[in-house]
């Protein structure tokens, strides 16, 4: 390979690794966000779920997930024997870096689920679900989309004009679909909905953690979207990456501001948790197409996400779909918005393609997840007992309170 090709390969690889590390960092963001938004008696358990699901995702995707999605062999043995690229033809970057970048996406999808079913799903049942989701459910739909495979040999989403740049649908809505399946399978937290139709607030225990989590996610998202350009070593790729960074930031900002204002108008208070969800909604909304809008357009798309997320959270509560951290709204409702926004700035995408793609992903993940939750339920309890729920899953499942000294 000539010197400039070598350098290009090296720069692309390094770019992938840096972006991947930022996405890995999002796992900490989800952990902190969720730890901040649950009640303190369920904090240790949600932390445990978050760090272990990340470990499971990384392991299962290595074992079979990557192979299902892109090929490469069980246990990655299709990568050359020393674990790196075969050198016959000059690839654009190290295959290991590609795996590393892809694997953290799986974990992101899975992290979304933990938030939706927080405070009541059994730890080990959840971890088993994580195995199935990261080994099979996500890689299958990932294969149909980024892997360019036909959906059950029937139709090809790319051909239908489906475009999902960094995964508003493939990652975020997929996670939300699994979360929704979980919530429907196990029900709401005890006491969340009164028999008279009232919705009882259960304030999260730690706002600084929730805010920290949001900042971490915001930062990590630069890797999530920025890395999805998949190369940076030419002028046009570098420009594309820069635009993606800029637009990602703009959309988060738009989502934050609009969610704050909408919440203020609706509730009369500046609800921090809605502003945080607004940031994330802005990010999810732009993720399907951060490369094509202008900065202003990106801000507006993010802002729409921010408005939508507030409405979605309130509406889900009316439907008694209990999502303690707002994961289904942020990643699901707004994920769909993100898909539908793409055709307005990108002519490669069509509304119909986006709808069919969204429905395919949602349908597949929702159905398989729901079945999985039910199957697990035959073997072990998926939901904590009433008594455990009252006591808190920290004591019940982990034998350890999150803040053992602060309880009076």
């Amino acid at each position: 390979m000539e010197a400039t090709a070598e350098l290009s390969y090296a720069l692309n690889t390094f770019y992938f690794l840096v972006c991947g590390a930022l996405v890995m960092w999002m796992a900490a963001g989800f952990a902190m966000l969720e730890a901040g938004l649950v009640r303190s008696k369920n904090t240790t358990e949600i932390l445990t779920k978050n760090i272990v699901l990340f470990a499971i995702a990384c392991t299962m995707y290595m074992v079979v997930g990557y192979d299902i999605m892109y090929g490469g062999g069980i246990l990655l043995d299709g990568l050359a024997a020393d674990g790196v690229a075969g050198a016959e033809e000059p690839a654009g970057y190290a295959p290991s870096a590609d795996f590393y970048f892809q694997v953290v996406f799986v974990a992101t999808a899975m992290s979304i689920v933990s938030g939706a079913v927080a405070e009541r799903m059994k730890l080990f049942a959840f971890l088993i679900f994580a195995v199935v989701m990261t080994a099979f459910i996500y890689p299958t739909e990932g294969g149909w989309t980024w892997g360019s495979k036909d959906v059950f040999g029937l139709y090809n989403l790319g051909d239908l004009g489906f475009v999902d740049f960094a995964g508003s649908g493939i990652v975020h809505m997929a996670g939300a679909a699994a979360g929704l399946a979980g919530v429907l399978a196990i029900g709401a937290r005890k006491g969340k909905y009164g028999s008279d139709g009232s919705v009882n607030a259960m304030p999260g225990a730690n706002m600084p953690l929730a805010t920290l989590g949001t900042f971490i996610l915001w930062m990590g998202w630069f890797g999530f979207n920025g890395g999805s350009v998949l190369a940076t070593a030419t002028v046009s790729d570098a420009n594309a990456v820069a635009v993606v960074f800029l637009n990602t930031n703009a959309a988060a900002s738009g989502g934050c501001i609009v969610a704050l204002l909408v919440a203020k108008a609706m509730f009369g208070k500046a609800d921090l948790t809605m502003a945080l969800n607004g940031c994330l909604a802005g990010l999810v909304a732009i993720t399907a197409g951060p490369d094509t809008p202008s900065p202003l357009m990106a801000t507006i798309i993010g802002g729409l996400g921010g408005a939508l997320v507030v409405g979605s959270i309130v509406t889900l509560d009316k439907l008694k779909i209990d999502d303690p951290v707002g994961a289904i709204s942020v990643h699901g409702t707004v994920g769909l918005l993100g898909l539908l926004a793409v055709p307005f700035t990108n002519s490669d995408a069509s509304i119909s393609g986006q709808l069919i793609g969204g429905a395919t992903i949602f349908g597949w993940v929702f159905v398989t997840s729901f079945v999985t939750f039910k199957l697990i339920g035959f073997v072990m309890p998926v939901r904590v007992s009433d008594e455990e729920e009252e006591m808190g899953s920290d004591i019940a499942e982990c034998g350890l309170e999150a803040y053992p000294e602060f309880k009076a």
């Binding site: 609800d271 507030v310 509560d317």
Partner: protein, 112 residues
Amino acid sequence: MKMVTAVIKPFKLDDVREALSAIGVQGITVSEVKGFGRQKGHTELYRGAEYVVDFLPKTKVEVAVSDEMAEQTIEAISASAQTGNIGDGKIFVTSLEQSVRIRTGETGEAAL
């Protein structure tokens, strides 16, 4: 001896402590409590759902005093804890049969 127990507004604690010191009280015991009374709690909104914060933070002050001091103590607390607004709190007096200073074993008023 009497045990005088007052439930007051938290930010009045310093004033009460000073008023008690001024009349010669040497020791008090304080705890954080929540009160429910005529003064109503406030309603909060969290992610669109209302919830009532029923109980208001109050501070409980316990002072053991000799019989002679009881009236003065009540007056000192009343004067220093009063804002005139609802929720100022209450003073309760019960009879104290015995008191002991653990360090020395002294009992009765000598132990206060």
